[in-house]
């Protein structure tokens, strides 16, 4: 039997932050990580390996990917959307593009402020949108601490952003022709463009070198430790403390509890052997889907409906970003978007949150608009085509040859509300290779999100046209970004309609913390990672202060 002060299940973007805070405070920590340790030698500048074969998600994450259904009347099938989770030390921060924008103050109280500004009729029927049990000001110190810990490059954003206690620790990423073109265009529209805040080393930081703008940031391990993934930043520091023990290849099968109902540790399988770890505190820090699955699988006499699920709230309030893209043609120009990074981008948040009047628009919420790089050849050739261009044949080939280097694009991360019937549960049929039920997602894009996406498509087209695009186009319907997924273990003040409290500890299992976007009451319209890391920092700090 192995024991520690704190057991972290999943040493990724969230667990890595917690490990750093806990070990810095003197706690002995064991982390169970399903995947291996990777390093810069595992980098591949290879779109087929990274983006088509999803090598970093194989085999565990792909084998247990949730099944999907639009509503409860149909049987779930394979997810129509990529669900890419990386099982490795560092988790999905190993392959994320690193865009690290904070949520806005509005995001923490979007329900009450919507009611105040637009009345109850503005909240879509069936939506379970809720205020967070903490404010932007409560989370601000943790945001600042995480930005310093992983190294976020950025500059003053927009007038819409919440106040900052300290500047970004790194200057923004290098400007490019594309970021300058899109910045000037946004300004010409009266918008407030800013360089994307990114967990990427614009300069050497904490012993790691600067980024070389290789164009293979997302879907890949950084080839030189220049990305602020937790494996090369906070986890490295936690390991250096001597107080973090990492067990890789450890597939956790249940969170164990004692007769007092509290969490006592976890059971896992490694090298084909079942083992267990005990701890005073357990921090569940896997991906949204696996957080929910492990709670539901950890039934016991004290917790017959699964752990932390007495109120039936585990799996509820699931959300996923809706992500429309708009493409634009800049004839005769060479945009060189195969260079650089996704997070080497110009951002606009004039259309995020409640930064604009929603009266009469038919939706609430908004999106961060991002004009990025990193358009690789398979993605470029497989992208939607403008009207009139054939999808195959001589006309397609001629269009590709003439225009492939002249296609620019912008993406939006449209907030998705929670709804009563958008849930995660265990599928009655689908199982992973070990015979364990897979998660079933019940979700579809609703009118609020579709109306918001249509609005964002118009804004993105307007932006591209202001930058000189002679033609713009987009896919017929927006994609669901199942990697930006939220909810399932909602944070709230009331144990009747949430799973964890404002510090991330389960209402009914007070020594069990849950880390990750599964605790978010709303999705917001920004990338999720920085906020989940700030919450992890806050949860770990709270344990340190109370222990």
């Amino acid at each position: 039997m192995t024991s520690a002060d704190v057991l972290i299940i999943g040493l990724g973007g969230a667990g890595g932050i917690a490990a750093d805070v806990l070990t810095a405070a003197g706690a002995e920590v064991i982390a169970l990580e399903a995947g291996p340790g990777l390093n810069s030698g595992d980098s591949r500048l290879d779109e087929l390996a990274n983006d088509v074969q999803s090598r970093l998600s194989a085999p565990k994450a792909l084998a247990e990917a949730p099944v999907w259904r639009a509503d409860a009347t149909v049987q779930a099938g394979p997810s129509p959307w990529p669900i890419l989770m990386v099982n490795a030390v560092g988790g999905s921060t190993v392959h994320y593009p690193g865009l690290s924008a904070r949520l806005h103050p509005w995001n923490f109280e979007s329900r009450s402020r919507t009611l105040e500004h637009y009345g109850a009729s503005a909240i879509p029927e069936g939506s379970t949108i809720a205020d967070w049990p903490l404010s932007y000001e409560d989370l601000e110190p943790a945001y600042a601490a995480v930005e310093r810990a992983i190294g976020v490059a950025g500059a003053q954003t927009s007038a819409f952003a919440g106040p900052r206690s300290s500047p970004y620790p790194l200057p923004p990423l290098r400007r490019s022709g594309w970021t300058e073109l899109t910045e000037a265009a946004a300004r010409s529209l009266g918008w407030q463009p800013f360089p994307a805040p990114a967990a990427i080393n614009s300069e050497p930081y904490n012993g790691n070198p600067r980024c070389t703008y290789c164009g293979f940031c997302s879907g890949n391990v950084c080839h030189r430790d220049a990305k602020g993934s937790t494996d090369v930043t906070v986890i490295r520091r936690a390991l250096a403390s001597g107080r973090l023990r990492v067990i890789t290849g450890a597939r956790v099968t249940r969170i164990d509890t004692g007769a007092d109902g509290l969490a006592s540790g976890a059971t896992f399988v490694a090298d084909g052997r079942e083992r267990s770890v005990t701890a005073r505190c357990v921090m569940l820090a896997t991906f949204t889907y696996e957080n929910v699955r492990l709670l539901l699988l950890s039934r016991s006499p004290e917790h017959p409906a699964g752990l932390a699920n007495a109120a039936g709230q585990v799996g509820r309030h699931y959300m996923a970003h809706v992500t429309p893209f708009v493409f634009g043609l800049f004839p005769g120009r060479r945009l060189a978007l195969h260079t650089g990074l996704w997070a080497q981008a110009t951002c606009v948040e004039d259309w995020n949150g409640d930064n604009f009047d929603h009266g009469g628009l038919g939706f609430i919420g908004g999106a961060l608009l991002v004009a990025p790089h990193e358009l690789r050849p398979i993605a470029l050739a497989g992208a939607p085509l403008p009207e009139g261009v054939p999808r195959w044949g001589a006309g397609w080939k001629a269009w590709l040859r003439e225009h492939a280097q002249s296609v620019g694009y912008i993406s939006a991360q449209m907030e998705c509300l929670a709804y009563e019937d958008h849930v995660l549960d265990l599928d009655p049929i689908a199982r992973d290779p070990f015979g364990i039920p897979r998660v079933r997602v019940t979700h579809r894009a609703r009118e609020n999100e579709l109306a918001g996406s249509r609005f964002m498509v118009e804004r993105m087209a307007q932006w591209l046209e202001a930058a000189g695009a002679t033609q713009t186009w987009h896919a017929p319907s927006p994609a669901i970004e199942a990697r930006h997924c939220y909810g399932g273990t909602r944070m709230g003040a009331d144990a009747a309609d949430s799973v964890v409290d404002a510090h991330g500890f389960a209402h009914e299992v007070t020594n069990l913390a849950i880390l990750g976007t599964s605790t978010f009451p709303t999705s917001g319209g920004h990338n999720p990672t920085l906020t989940l890391q700030a919450l992890s920092w806050r949860t770990a700090s709270h344990w340190v202060a109370s222990a």
Partner: protein, 134 residues
């Protein structure tokens, strides 16, 4: 893959991206060699769809034009292929992978697919000058 199916595969890929005066078609770009290799490896799950899809192209060609798909003229091939539905989309997806993916996976012969797109190929760094607009 037997010779009959291989003939249909090659003909169909060259319908998607035909050879022209400026360069090779999908087969010359390595699309066929990529697909044949991948169907025995990472795309093995698609093999039954290929067998059905390729056989259906031949059957439709015989029924409509009295000859096998690969023996048809360009216009007749296009017409038969345009009715192939989901198989056309699968083939297009794999043709894009094979023509524009890294050559180490058996396609994109000599980087010719990348040249078609004006893509110089992967590099570990791009300079500020290379990131300027042309």
């Amino acid at each position: 893959m037997n010779a009959a199916r291989r003939a249909v595969l090659h003909a169909a890929l060259d319908c998607l991206l035909p050879a022209d005066e400026a360069g090779p078609g999908a087969v010359g770009l390595g699309g066929a060699s990529y697909v044949e290799r991948a169907l025995g490896a990472e795309h093995a799950a698609s093999l039954p769809a290929y067998e059905r899809g390729l056989d259906a192209l031949d059957a439709t060609a015989l029924a409509r034009h009295g000859d096998r798909f690969a023996a048809l003229g360009a216009q007749a091939r296009d017409e038969v292929l345009s009715d192939a539905g989901a198989f056309l989309e699968l083939l297009r997806t794999h043709a894009i992978e094979g023509c524009f993916g890294d050559p180490r996976w058996g396609g994109n012969t000599g980087g010719a697919g990348w040249a078609l797109l004006g893509y110089p190929g992967p590099r570990t760094q791009w300079s500020e000058v290379e990131q300027r607009l042309g």
